[in-house]
């Protein structure tokens, strides 16, 4: 009952973990991704990723300067060039 989340930058694989939910600042509006999300691709604008480790837990924020998000059966992958 978890979403596999990966955050990748050109320099390294920053995160690879199972989380409950991630909210992504998509270029056409924020969207939240839970486990079992339909396959989806979106470009990402500059903003903040909100990561929730488990239901109701504290949100963790990671600033990113644009990038690209892909949701498939394997989980959510975010490709970002710069993260804060």
């Amino acid at each position: 009952m978890a979403l596999h989340f990966e955050l990748v930058t050109p320099a390294a694989l920053i995160r690879s973990e199972d989380v409950y939910m991630v909210s992504v600042p998509g270029s056409e509006g924020d969207f939240g991704v839970l486990e079992g999300h339909a396959p989806f691709m979106s470009s990402v604008r500059a903003g903040e990723l909100l990561i929730q480790k488990s239901a109701g837990a504290e949100m963790e924020r990671i600033a990113i300067a644009g990038g690209f998000a892909e949701v498939n059966e394997g989980g959510l992958t975010i490709l970002a060039e710069h993260i804060g």
Binding site: A12, L13, A38, S43, F68, L79, E81
Partner: protein, 291 residues
Amino acid sequence: MATLKELKGRISSVKSTQKITKAKKMVASAKLRKAQAAAEGARPYAARIEAVVASLAAKVGKSPSAPKLLGGTGKEDVHLLLVLNSDRGLAGAFNANIVKAARDKANELRAAGKEVKFFLVGRKGRPVINRLFPKMTTAQYDTTGFRELAFANAEEIAQQLLDMYQAGEFDVAHLFFSKFRSALLQEATGQQIIPVAIGADTPVSTGAATEYEPDEEAILADLLPRNVTVQIFKGLLENAASEQGASMTAMDNATRNAGDLINRLTIQYNRSRQAAITTELVEIIAGAEAL
């Protein structure tokens, strides 16, 4: 025959050279570890972006509205060779091999009647390419002053390249760098980066109806320049690792050669010392007998 003093001088000079090559080898092996880790760290990103671009490109296909970076300009007359070199020598044939690969490609293209331009990164390739192909270098990027090449450098190079592409200065771009196989083996390789070469092994999409936001073409237009940047970044990192590997091997050989030379000179030194002693003895004995 060299005098004893001369031999002594040569031995000590080779010894100090050996100290330098030994130190350089150790520095290179320490740097290699770091460069290798950086090259490995960049792999996941490059692999993912490549997979996404390939699957999107297969979907959008060669439609006339496809972005220029994917479909090309419609001609293949002007080729740009982006050659990545390092700034420093003492790395064996590292830079020479990359230049050789680019030179072969340039000659091949010119024989086919195409126009060739060069974009040179790093200091070491410049003199050779400017001599072989005078007035064909249209752009260069200076990497002196940067201790390690970061993603920002790749971004700057890519930006310059994309601006030239938008201005219609070339139709096809190739990237030349040295692929890092191991500390002992580096391979100078060329690869087409613009327009994006879609391999035959493009993964077939899973068939699941993927949703796109904004839409396939907009995402592709956003991703293609990124892909160029990432390819250049990958080239820079592979190059950095290769350079240290080549340097390590070259310096190891140099150290060993210096050791051999020292042994040879020492034997020669001892022989002539003994010969001198023998001559002296013979002279003393002959003198004593004469009395």
